[in-house]
Amino acid sequence: MNKLQKRYHFILLGMIWFLLIANPLYAYLDPGTGSMFLQLLMGGIAGLVVIGKMYWRKIFSFGTEKNKTSDTDPVNMESMRNLNTDE
């Protein structure tokens, strides 16, 4: 295993650990976001680059329009749109 691959695996393990916080599962709310994210993890270095970009932007953008959601909205309508993709 070369050095780059080793680094990739290390970062990967770190992220997995970070993500493994169990929450009760409400499948109807989120039919595929986790699986989409998994595709990035599966995607090797290229996937990590995208993850990096995503979270880099998140950290450095102070609430852009797209990520704003209403506090009174119990179900995010944007993630409801994803429901139609599964069947």
């Binding site: 929450n23 989409m36 595709q39 970009k53 749109r81």
Partner: protein
């Protein structure tokens, strides 16, 4: 001409399947029409249709009185070549589900090369023409949008990968689960089945363990992940690599089950060679009088007589409750040229019901096509003695199929029946040759009869009384 909506075609708002007589039509929306135009122009569409792996489809003008349109109306109509006999993944052998999965992934890879994708991943979109799988859901092919992930991945896992892993890694047939859960196996449940050592098996850590954990972590997420991906450069190359990875996993899955009760029946059977040829001759002579449109071979085991029947029929559906016997049969016909035998895993004492929304999405057997002839060879003793179904009721059920029957009665003197009765309380007073013949004659005319194995087994050729 009778026009009828297909009750199982409603989930995709972009189209609606309906029938005019025997023809299969599909009304499609504007966006589905655009996708169709792009699809029919691609090279992979033409190639896969040529190879029989994608349903031949044409765009047509709708001539008679219009189908009741949804708000907005339909933009166009497609016509599809019919499938000889519908079947569902909970009736397929392991090898059939595996080959269907590989076909799906091959189609996806080919589509990705020409800027298209398949929006979902359901085995209900694949049907069979004999031993050959064929994808039938044309509207699931869509234009690939920049930055879009593999939207069908989650469903592929639930409906293809996990059932295959259940069989390959846990030696558990997937049929009851797939029949009971129309959307397949969830990653959470799949993960619960695996122990720590299973995590090292090919594909389990990523596609089962990680997926179930990530599903939980993200379920409260307020992100629109798809837009996020698009903005940050998710490429179709990523999808391609992931699809190839999953394909390698599927290719390596092998049936872990080596033996079931009846999988070696044909080897262990108690016929002599001369008896076997007498039986085969009887069936040939009986069937050669006409070309049969559809034949059911129920209790087909490894399909020896289905193959004989297929010489005189347009299509034979071989059914047996033993999944490994059907797997062996499927593997044996895969390499042959003939494509008019469909092997299915069906327990005749508990056949596939109508299920889904309003119990009409998936059809029960007789709704998919009534047979003209039924082969019921060396089955009745299992039905009456093992499954405890009264002999008269079984004959009534046969009569309801309203077709010619070639049925074999296995007497109590036969070793197989004695084996079945061993350690059982013998209350089967109806299991008697004379009673059977009398019952058969109530609703059938017995035109041919053949005694085998020194009287231990008798073949009947029976035509239903009108």
């Amino acid at each position: 001409m009778i026009k009828q909506l297909e009750p199982g075609s409603f989930r995709d708002r972009n189209g609606r399947v309906f029938y005019i007589g025997e023809d299969i039509w599909r009304a499609i929306s504007k966006s589905a029409l655009r996708n169709w135009e792009q699809l029919s122009d691609t090279n992979f569409y033409k190639q896969f249709v040529n190879d029989g792996k994608l349903v031949p489809t044409v765009k047509v003008d709708y001539v008679s009185t219009a189908l009741e349109p949804e708000p907005g109306g339909w933009a166009g109509y497609l016509k599809h070549e019919p499938i000889p006999f519908l079947s569902y993944p909970y009736e397929w052998a392991f090898g059939m589900l595996k080959d269907a999965a590989l076909l799906h992934l091959d189609l996806l890879l080919a589509a990705l090369n020409e800027r298209m994708t398949i929006k979902d991943s359901s085995p209900f979109n694949i049907q069979w023409v004999g031993k050959d799988p064929r994808h039938i859901d044309i509207p699931s092919f869509e234009s690939l949008k920049e930055g879009e992930p593999w939207t069908g991945y989650h469903q592929f896992c639930k409906m293809f990968l996990y059932p295959l892993m259940l069989y390959a890694y846990k030696n558990i047939p997937f049929h009851p689960w797939m029949r009971g859960s129309i959307d397949g196996i969830s990653s959470e449940h799949m993960n619960s089945l695996f122990s720590l050592k299973d995590l090292f098996r090919k594909g389990v850590f990523t596609n089962v363990f990680l997926q179930s954990k990530l599903e939980r972590s993200f379920q409260n997420s307020k992100e629109n992940m798809r837009d996020n991906f698009r903005e940050n450069g998710f490429s179709s190359e990523l999808i391609r690599q992931n699809v190839k990875k999953v394909k390698r996993i599927v290719e390596n899955l092998e049936s872990g089950i080596k033996e079931t009760e009846w999988s070696h029946y044909a080897d262990r059977t108690s016929y002599t060679n001369s008896d076997q040829s007498v039986k085969a001759d009887f069936i040939r002579k009986a069937m050669q009088t006409q070309q049969w449109k559809l034949v059911w071979d129920i209790g087909s085991n490894t399909g020896v007589y289905s193959i004989i029947a297929s010489e005189y029929s347009n299509y034979v559906v071989a059914m047996d409750g033993d999944h490994l016997a059907i797997e062996r049969f499927y593997q044996s016909i895969k390499t042959q040229k003939r494509s008019n035998i469909l092997p299915l895993v069906v327990n005749l004492a508990d056949p596939s019901p109508s299920i889904g929304w309003r119990l009409r999405e998936r059809k029960t057997l007789s709704e998919r096509g009534k047979p003209e002839l039924v082969l019921c060879l060396a089955l009745i003793h299992h039905i009456v003695i093992s499954a405890n179904i009264p002999l008269k009721e079984f004959v009534q059920w046969l009569r309801e199929l309203d077709c010619v029957v070639i049925i074999e009665f296995v007497t109590r003197e036969d070793e197989m029946v004695q084996t079945l009765l061993r350690n059982k309380e013998d209350n089967y007073t109806d299991y008697d040759l004379n009673f059977f013949e009398k019952t058969l004659q109530e609703s059938y005319n017995i035109t041919k009869k053949q005694i085998l194995k020194e009287g231990k087994r008798i073949l009947f050729y029976a035509r239903p009384k009108t």
